[in-house]
Symmetry: C2
Subunit: 241 residues, 2 copies
């Protein structure tokens, strides 16, 4: 729950291989010289699930690229009610350029590997490299689209539709090129409590809806985590996508 393993990075290709896809992450936007420069101050970290990357209170002093695992972004009310406002997968970039106060908490939802950079070093590089700034701009726009998609889910969908939408979101992430009719298998990166906080529901309601999808033959679940989606098409119907 609290162990933290820091490995100084001396392996640029591994550091950056994950960053190429989907206009996310920073390494793909840098030239070899910039990469070398950044590698000097970057560190790879293995974070156990539950570890906080960015606090809701204080501004972060570093940025990070996710190499593996899932990070949840949460907001909390004074009385403890919580909402997950975003999920980040490899090779997403974690951090908030150009502003300090962000009032958002980033926490490892699973065990996570990240590549961390000191804020100052990367800020300097952003100022120099328009391509890097553009890359971060694109990720911000992607996250904005995802947030707005989820607002529709939170505001207007039923519990059954919400749970199906969540499973579909994860399935889509496992294989972005997926055909709408195939079978998908994955491990849930979130606990029932996390799913509830993501969907604006209680854990009991999430549990009941998952049971319903199981008994109706849309999915199978082993060990509460390992999920088989038999028909993505049927799942999409349930989600009203």
């Amino acid at each position: 729950m609290t162990s933290r393993l820091d490995i100084h990075n001396s392996d640029i290709p591994v550091l950056c291989r994950a960053c190429e896809a989907r206009h996310r992450g920073v390494c793909g936007a840098l030239n070899p010289q910039q990469l070398k420069e950044l590698a000097k101050t970057s560190t790879r970290k293995a974070l156990d699930s539950g570890i906080e990357l960015v606090s809701e209170a204080e501004p972060a002093e570093s940025y990070a690229n996710i190499l593996s695992g899932v990070v949840k972004l949460t907001k909390t009310m004074a009385d403890g009610r919580q909402q997950i406002v975003g999920l980040q997968f490899a090779p997403d970039f974690i951090g908030r350029p150009f502003r300090d106060e962000n009032m958002i908490r980033a926490e490892a939802a699973t065990d996570v590997h990240v590549c961390a950079f000191p804020k100052r070093a990367l800020d300097r590089m952003i100022a120099q490299s328009p391509e890097l700034g553009h890359r971060l701009h694109l990720q911000a726009l992607n996250e904005l689209d995802e947030a707005r998609d989820w607002m529709l889910t939170l505001g207007r969908k039923t519990a059954a539709e919400k749970v199906a939408s969540f499973l579909h979101l994860i399935a889509r992430h496992v294989d972005p090129e997926i055909e709408a009719k195939g079978t998908v298998v994955f491990d849930l990166p979130l606990t029932r409590a996390d799913i509830a906080d993501f969907l604006g529901l209680t854990i009991e309601t999430v549990s009941r809806q998952i049971t319903k999808l199981r008994t109706e033959g849309v999915i199978a679940v082993e060990n509460n985590r390992h999920v088989t989606v038999f028909s993505l098409e049927r799942l999409e119907d349930r989600a009203n996508l």
Copy 2:
């Protein structure tokens, strides 16, 4: 409901005065030469409430700056359920650079004045001007923050808290520098139906909660639109901010 008045812009100062504040809008980021260039192709438009600026289906062929009024961004499900995923005020920028498919509808919530630019001309300018790209990046990050704030409201707040949060949002926009204890007066830019679509509620529930705030002396309402907030502090308590 469908009239549309186009006035070719020949008045650069008026065009751009609104764009200076809050890192929103594009004009403040341009040099005199770029402004002159952009003014050649820009048009000022007066749009009646209800007019669609951007369709949920086809990609937009132009961008716009809001000069006055309020624009709502909506998402719609196949069965008609709707969710407002963003509200834009002057001098916000409307449009989606770097991507065509956006699956979002922009509609004038009130009568609106905008300054519209052909997409192509502004895209060219974005490519040339890092300052302009940066300005748009900042607006995207602001909108992302707002979207995530609202996700907490949609997912975890009660109906009473949602309505109070909405009124607080509008009040804050009327006067961003507002003291937490003062009285605020404004005209609601949204109908009850719009408020319901913004909060993920029905119009009946919105109406009942507004009535409750009235009878409890937190606000006064005239003609269903003109609102007086007697104590912003009390409103914040209701919203659980």
